[in-house]
Symmetry: D3
Subunit: 244 residues, 6 copies
């Protein structure tokens, strides 16, 4: 059990994890990782335009619909553990208790790596807020004096998944992951997002183009591996290795 | 033979490779890599103060002494292939033919990764020049139209080894390498540098402190690995991976 | 009425809008825009030294004096809509209700563009706070689930007006506006600031020098337009155009 | 005739202008601009892998083939003025006379704006070199003492077109151009590049995704314009305007 | 008394001031400055692993132990004024009253310069939070309307002392201070930190290596001063001088 | 004689030193420094528009006129040592011999500090080139193997003086120098520049505004020194100090 690998995704809104790291989730599940997805909010106010345009829309109704979509998407990715903190969106704000609830999850999961948003997003301050919370809670989870007796956290990598307009967010990928083998699952998860059909093609294009970057960086015209779909990530912390 | 791993170090002056990546060289030799070291110059004019203070010092004499030291250091690191382009220092400048000679070496080595200096160095423009040459020659080595028929280069990583004042050079390590097992070899190579005794302790301190960073980033107080000596490197290109 | 152009200025303290974008306000009013100015605070504690040095100074008295000055300045700029959120200064802090009040204004104005402070200011954290609030409230104003039924906001540009020490604030102008035709109005507004006479000359010098930059960038010695006074702004978001 | 608008593209290799600003070229031709394309090299050594893999490939043969492709692509974009400086590639290097030849072209064209590569490219130093030459020659073209009597250059904008891996090149677009109306021409130009079929889909995906960014920045869900294909550019110099 | 020089250290946790600026404290005390040290928290939860591993550890017990250590360290540095705001750690958060208490101290001390943490720290958000509070309270202390009648603050420099992994924190020193004459005091203060013995050697190595940087920047091989121990600092504000 | 203080200005074109550091030159002369000014070119091609518009203008005539102006300006600043390398401008390029001539001057002067341009200038590549040459020659002057037997250079600071559009050049001042006492000399030197009358007022405005920044950073409203004219500089290297 000590060898069970795990990962933790911290998603500001219910759908973010699908577009931005659905491939990583499915791939690591396939490799035997337990991937836990935490949605800090449902994106109910700010990312549910289509639902709000329907007659009789209500906050609770929108939340329920978004939750259902997110659960279906997680299932499509073979992820069995998805949680909703319901902290509200636009703006997203966690109080101390909500942060400690997130710390509890981090400690329970003991992730080998974490995934969250870019550190800057002038279009969506919820995204950068989620990442600052991820860093803060990672730190708290490492404190021996926080709930003494619990197993403290080690030093997992925090990967920032791809934001919508990378250059405006100052996001720079330093690792590309080949998700060809699980692309069908990611596409199925994407298609669970009925309210954002206009993004299906966008993220398919993106995955194809990131595969081009994967090929270039794995050998270029002189033999790069033939990835067809890929995702990019930016690391916050240095790696520690035994070979370069 | 296709599986023989290799690496290429591009060092502006004859001693740079010792302080900055001696551990990486010895470690990868130990792991079966063939590491080739290219010294673009001997550092004969600018990094040989002690020799110039001796009576009767001459350019050729200084070069010879520096070469001897560098060869001894390479040997201490178990590196059997060290080359000297003798392109001159302070300033270092390669003409087209010298660049093409470097391209020839790159193609012959077909390195799995390359090592060179930081991209900026306001104290020593030879260092940043060496890196710009490394990038340019990496590009030329990838060109199908350069010496058609030769095996072109793939897409090896270019790691920047640690400069003397990291913050002034804008250098940020994203990978720490545990060199504990080969520390004795690196120290022996360092001690070949008789003209720079004042730096022996400096780089020993540094290796110890980088090991602290290694431990922090591999798990911190909750179980980081007990490295005693480490080196840091900055990657230029993204990695391509199958698992995060 | 759908074609009525409008703009929104978000000013941390009562006088900021005068020095930093008084020309832009007067010019756009002249061009038929409705410009709304929101002063988040009066700058009553931190930017009213002269008033506090007077006998019998009180918080309410200082606020009233600052409001009067700001209203006079707005009038000098032909701006008819100036509002005061009275959120306090040094430090400036808006709670959720005050942010939502700002969102109400944004939605009511439906600005073609917004103006606020630089994103960083080590001398005055109120300034950068105002900009972070501007971004956050812009995002909330775009949310279909915030006060459903209201007209949501589009995607107006956010221009950062010139801070007092541009280089220390990391502010870089990408657009210069010719304010020659309204300079007299800006100077009149500046002269409403009786408590800060020492800045009158400063901002006149600045407007003259920015006009030099305007001329250089509009054609230089080969025919740049003869602007005499200008203001600079930094854009947060990319533009969308039909011609370069 | 004084009113004839014009633009100048400076392309390191023969095909760069197609992928990176083919839409801008076709669109401005359509709007009555005279667009001049300067290919500093044919990309004969470094960007013609497919041609070099053919039996009997020679440098002159590859150049001729590349020139033919580039001319066909220019024609597909309705650009009637394409020039080849044949300065060599991998590495690209212009001597003083070649730079002055480029200055002659700049002065003859008197462009309203110029287009070139990103300022940094760790994969391809020819690209960043081309931009540094563009800046240097723009400066020379402004000098009254260079070929006295000739009409000197004003202060045209220099737009950097999109590089292949934007984040690695530190490229950040600040303007998106709607190229929907000329997409068919750009696609036709792309299809002239028979040696790089693997990039056709890549750049089609990209144009679709950049249109998403165009829509977001022109109004988002609240009415952004329905662009289907777009290109992004980064400006080097500030704009000078009469309205924000 | 008006000529009494003073300095203020703002330390997130009880031990930070020892490692990071113990030399500066002892040196300035020796030069006749009154140095006040403010510990915003004891670091009781997050930086006291060794204490928490002991049987019967309690929050109050850990705080008391940490306070005792910090007081002993201050004494070793000849600093007579150390204060504890007890604002809690992991996460550190000051409410408005606590910030105003810090402002009271700043005004009472009227420091010639202030010292605090780096502006960014992805490992420890308490550190960067402390610096943002330092800047905010410096600003409040300058406000004539804050506790009118009190002496307002001038414009003291804010120096950022060295964080644990400088490159990851984006910290760049622009001044090196020779602490050779007080090294014994700093080492004695370091040895008060019984819970962090693993850091003693680390910070001794660091002080030795920073002395190398001191020597290089004070004259290099051509006569740099023979400092044996040094500390580095990054300035936030420009200096004002009468000679370069 | 060993105590004679000295400084070295490296100016790309003949007039640059006047606008950008005329105050520093005059002030340090007044303080007993020997200030040497090196003009790498006359700015004959690119910065002499007015002269070229005159009938019968010739390269030699323009150079002579520019030299005369520069010499007069130096005299107005009480600088007795001005040299002209005549390396040509637009573009400025120094070959190895010209660089070594500059090294000779650096060694002869043994400056306590050096002054040159910003490191980046998209309008004028001669400026950034001059700074890269200054750095390279500073390095060569430190080499014991360059002209062995000569006194090698120590580690003088390199200050970057203020460029024309600071924000576009990425220039950030970290030191402001009070030049009030020598302002009349700087203004007199400025008035020697008969060809650039349009800049007289610009640089007077600038000096006044930089004095405002001086006052702010030396104490602000609570007692900053009453400088009336100032210049700003950016340091390349860290300082080494005995007191913060």
């Amino acid at each position: 059990m000590a060898d069970q690998k795990s990962a933790l995704v911290i998603s500001a809104h219910a759908a973010d994890f699908v577009w931005r790291c659905g491939g990583a989730i499915a791939l690591h599940q396939e490799k035997g990782y337990d991937v836990t997805i935490v949605c800090l909010s449902y994106g109910e106010r700010g990312e549910s335009a289509k639902l709000w345009k329907q007659d009789g829309a209500s906050l609770e109704g929108v939340k329920a619909a978004r939750r259902k979509e997110a659960e279906a998407a997680a299932k499509a990715l073979d992820a069995h553990d998805i949680r909703f903190l319901d902290a509200g969106d636009y703006p997203l704000e966690l109080d101390r208790d909500q942060k400690f609830a997130l710390v509890d999850i981090i400690r329970a999961v003991q992730p080998d790596f974490m995934l969250s948003h870019s550190q800057y997003d002038p279009y969506n301050t919820d995204h950068s807020y989620a990442t600052s919370v991820a860093m803060e809670c990672r730190m708290i989870a490492q404190a021996w004096g926080h709930n003494p007796g619990e197993k403290v956290l080690g030093a997992p990598q925090l990967y920032l998944f791809e934001p919508h307009q990378t250059e405006q967010m100052g996001w720079k990928p330093d690792v590309f992951l080949d998700i060809t083998s699980v692309w069908d699952k990611k596409r199925a998860a994407i298609e669970c997002m009925q309210g954002q059909v206009h993004l299906w093609n966008y993220y398919t294009n993106l995955a194809e183009n990131r595969a081009n970057h994967f090929r270039r960086n794995s050998g270029g015209q002189s033999g790069g591996r033939n990835a067809e779909y890929a995702e990019g990530f930016q690391s916050i912390y240095p790696r520690t290795v035994d070979v370069l």
